[in-house]
Amino acid sequence: MTTPLLQLTKVSKHFGGVRALHEVDMAVHAGEVVALVGDNGAGKSTLVKIVSGVESPDGGEIRVRGEARRLESPRAAAEAGIRTVFQDLSLCDNLDAVQNLFLGQERYGPVWSGRRVRRHVMEEQAQRVLESLSVKLRALNTPVVALSGGQRQGIAIGRALISDPAVVILDEPTAALGVSQRGEVLDLIDRLREQGRAVVVISHDMKDVRRVADRIVVLRLGTKVAEFERGGYTPADLVGAMTGAHETNDEGGEQ
C-alpha cells in the first residue's frame, strides 16, 4: 500500500474536562475521498482544526506524506499542502469577495513593487473559480458581509482550491448551498479525486456521503467507532454506527 498523504495516529484532544477526541486514527491517500461522519459534537470539526493547524492535539501523531509534522499553525498546514474549508467559513467580513478568495494566497508583483497585488489577475481567476462552483455574485468587490449564506460558503470553498493543495478538507461544505451549487461541489470533489488529491469531507447528508466517499470514518463522542469502505456498508450500518444503535466495524474490530 502507498504512503497516505495524510495520516493521523492516536490523535487526542481535550478541552478542559471535555474529551473531544480520543486516540483517533485516520489515513487519506492521494486520489481518495474520506468522509468523516458523526453526530453533532462527535469531534469532527475538532479533528479538522487539528489537521489545519488551528488547534494543537494533546497527543498522537500527524504524518504528511509519511513525514511526522507539527502543524503548529494554519500557515504550517498550508505549507504542508493542506487547505481547509472551515465549518464557520472563517471569512474576513471587512474584505471583499476577491480578497477573501485569495486571502493569504494573493497574486502579486515583484518585491521592488512592494508586492503589488495583481488585482486584475485575481479578478479574472476568481470569476472562473466561482463560475465552476455555480456561485453567482453581482460584483466581485462586494464585501462578504453583504453576501448570502450560500455565496459565502462558495467563497470559502473557492479559497481552499485556489492554490492546488494536495490535501483538501471540507467541513460541511454544502450546508448552506442551493441545489445546483451543491451538485457542483459534489462534482468538484470527484474532480479533486481524479486530480490525485486527498480529500476529507464532513457532511450530515448521508446521500452525499455515499455518493462521494471512498471510505467513511465514523466518530462518536470523540472516538472512532467504525470505518467503512465504499460498497461495504448499508445505510443502516452508517446510522447505526453514528448513533450507537448497533456498533459495527468493517475491520472486524469491536468497541
Partner: protein
C-alpha cells in the same frame, strides 16, 4: 453605538442585476474608495462657518498656519491608524515622539553629529521602542496596558535622555532647518507637476493592465482622477507658497501619506493588514502571519512618532520634558477616528489621519482666531468636534458608503 440596522444597511453597494454595468460600477468604485468625501464636506462646513465669523480664517497666512499646526498630529495619527487597523491601540507614541526628538536633537545640537545621523538615530529609537512594545503585546498583554506602561517609562526616559538642564534649544542650528526649510515656488510647482504626472501614469498603467484581461474601463477613469489630483496639488502649492515657499514639514507629510497609501491599498501587505484587523482568527486561518503584521504596524508607528517628534521640536525650536506631552496623543487618536478609522480594527484609510487632523486643527485654529474667552473656547472646541462627526454620520447614512462604528 451604531444601531444594528444602520450597521447592516450601511454596507457597500453592488450594482443591480439590471443596472448599466459600466456607470453603476464606476459610481460604486468611486464611493468605495472615497469614504473620505463626507469628511471633506464636514471640513468645508467648518471652514465656511469660521470664515463667516472672521475673514482672516481663510487668508493665505492662516491656511499656512493651519497646515503647519496639523503636521505633527497628522504624522503621528498616520502611525496610529496603522495600529488601529490591526485592532490595537497606542498611548505611548506621543511621549515617544518627545524621546526621539531628544535623542536626535541631542546628537545633532549637543554632540555636533551630522543632521542625518541624528535623524536616523531618532527614527531608530522610535522603532526599537515600539518593537519591544509589540513583542510584549504579542505575548498577550493588552496593548492598552503595554502602551500605558510604556508611556510612563518613556516619561522617565526623556528625563534621562535630555541633558541635565532638561532642555535642548535648537534655534539657529541645522536641526531647526527640518521645519524652517521652504521649497521655493518654482521648485514647488515642479513637484506638483511631477506628482500629477506620476499619478496619471500609474492610473494609465492600471487601465492598460485591466484592459489586458478584457475588463472594460474607460479612459475617464484615468483622466478624471488625474485632473482632481492636479487641481489639489497645484492649488495647494499656490496657496502655500504665498508666504515663504512650500514648508518642508508639509512635504514630509505628503511623502509619508503617499507611501502609506500605496502600501495599504496596492500591496499584499495592505490586504493582510485589513484582514488581521477585520477578523484575526480568520486571518490566522488563512495563513497570514498575524503577529508579524501587528509588529509591522507598531514599527511604522515608531517611525511616525519619531518623525512627528523631530518635526515638532524643530518647529518649536527646542526639546524639553513637555515635548510629546499635552493633548497630542489624544488628538492623534481622535484624528484617526474622526477621519473614519475604527477603534475596533479593520476599518479606516490612511487619509483619515490627514482629514481628521485637519478637522481637529481647523476647529482649534478657528476658535483661537475668534479670540473667545477661555471657557467659550473649550465649549466651542468640544461641541464643534462632536457636531462635525455627527454631520459625517448623517452624510454617510444618507449615502451608500460604509458606516462608522468606532
Amino acid at each position: 453605538m451604531t444601531t444594528t440596522k444602520a450597521a447592516t444597511n450601511a454596507t457597500a453597494p453592488e450594482t443591480g442585476p439590471t443596472g448599466p454595468r459600466g456607470i453603476g460600477r464606476a459610481i460604486e468604485t468611486a464611493a468605495r474608495g472615497h469614504r473620505s468625501i463626507p469628511v471633506l464636506v464636514v471640513l468645508a462646513i467648518i471652514w465656511a462657518v469660521f470664515y463667516s465669523q472672521s475673514s482672516a480664517y481663510l487668508s493665505f497666512q492662516n491656511i499656512t498656519n493651519l497646515t503647519l499646526q496639523i503636521v505633527t498630529t497628522a504624522i503621528l495619527a498616520l502611525g496610529v491608524v496603522f495600529v488601529l487597523i490591526v485592532g490595537e491601540i497606542d498611548l505611548s507614541s506621543a511621549v515617544l515622539s518627545g524621546v526621539c526628538a531628544a535623542v536626535a536633537a541631542g546628537l545633532t545640537v549637543n554632540h555636533g553629529l551630522p543632521l542625518v545621523v541624528g535623524i536616523a538615530a531618532g527614527v531608530a529609537t522610535g522603532m526599537v521602542v515600539t518593537f519591544v512594545e509589540a513583542q510584549i503585546i504579542m505575548f498577550g498583554v493588552p496593548s492598552l496596558i503595554v502602551t500605558l506602561g510604556g508611556m510612563v517609562i518613556l516619561q522617565g526616559l526623556i528625563l534621562v535622555v535630555l541633558p541635565p538642564e532638561f532642555t535642548i534649544s535648537v534655534a539657529g542650528t541645522p536641526f531647526a532647518k527640518i521645519a524652517s526649510t521652504a521649497i521655493p515656488a518654482g521648485a514647488s510647482y515642479g513637484l506638483a507637476a511631477a506628482g500629477t504626472l506620476a499619478y496619471a501614469g500609474y492610473r494609465f498603467f492600471q487601465h492598460r493592465e485591466r484592459a489586458s484581461t478584457g475588463s472594460l474601463t474607460s479612459l475617464a477613469t484615468v483622466l478624471v482622477p488625474a485632473v482632481v489630483v492636479a487641481v489639489v496639488l497645484f492649488g495647494g502649492v499656490f496657496t502655500l507658497t504665498q508666504q515663504r515657499g512650500l514648508p518642508m514639514p508639509l512635504l514630509i507629510l505628503a511623502v509619508m501619506l503617499l507611501i502609506a497609501w500605496y502600501a495599504t491599498t496596492q500591496t499584499r501587505y495592505g490586504i493582510h493588514l485589513y484582514a488581521v484587523g477585520g477578523d484575526r482568527e480568520a486571518a490566522q486561518r488563512a495563513g497570514i502571519p498575524v503577529r508579524r503584521m501587528v509588529l509591522y504596524s507598531f514599527l511604522i508607528l515608531g517611525a511616525c512618532a519619531a518623525i512627528a517628534g523631530m518635526v515638532d521640536s524643530s518647529r518649536q525650536l527646542g526639546v524639553s520634558v513637555t515635548s510629546g506631552a499635552g493633548p497630542l496623543m489624544l488628538n492623534a487618536i481622535a484624528a484617526a477616528v474622526v477621519g473614519g478609522t475604527s477603534l475596533f480594527g479593520g476599518r479606516g484609510s490612511i487619509w483619515s489621519a490627514l482629514l481628521g487632523a485637519l478637522v481637529i486643527g481647523s476647529i482649534s485654529n478657528g476658535v483661537q482666531l475668534l479670540g473667545l474667552s477661555t471657557e467659550v473656547q473649550y465649549f466651542a472646541t468640544g461641541s464643534v468636534l462632536i457636531i462635525a462627526v455627527a454631520v459625517d454620520v448623517v452624510l454617510t447614512r444618507g449615502s451608500l458608503l460604509p458606516g462608522r462604528r468606532a
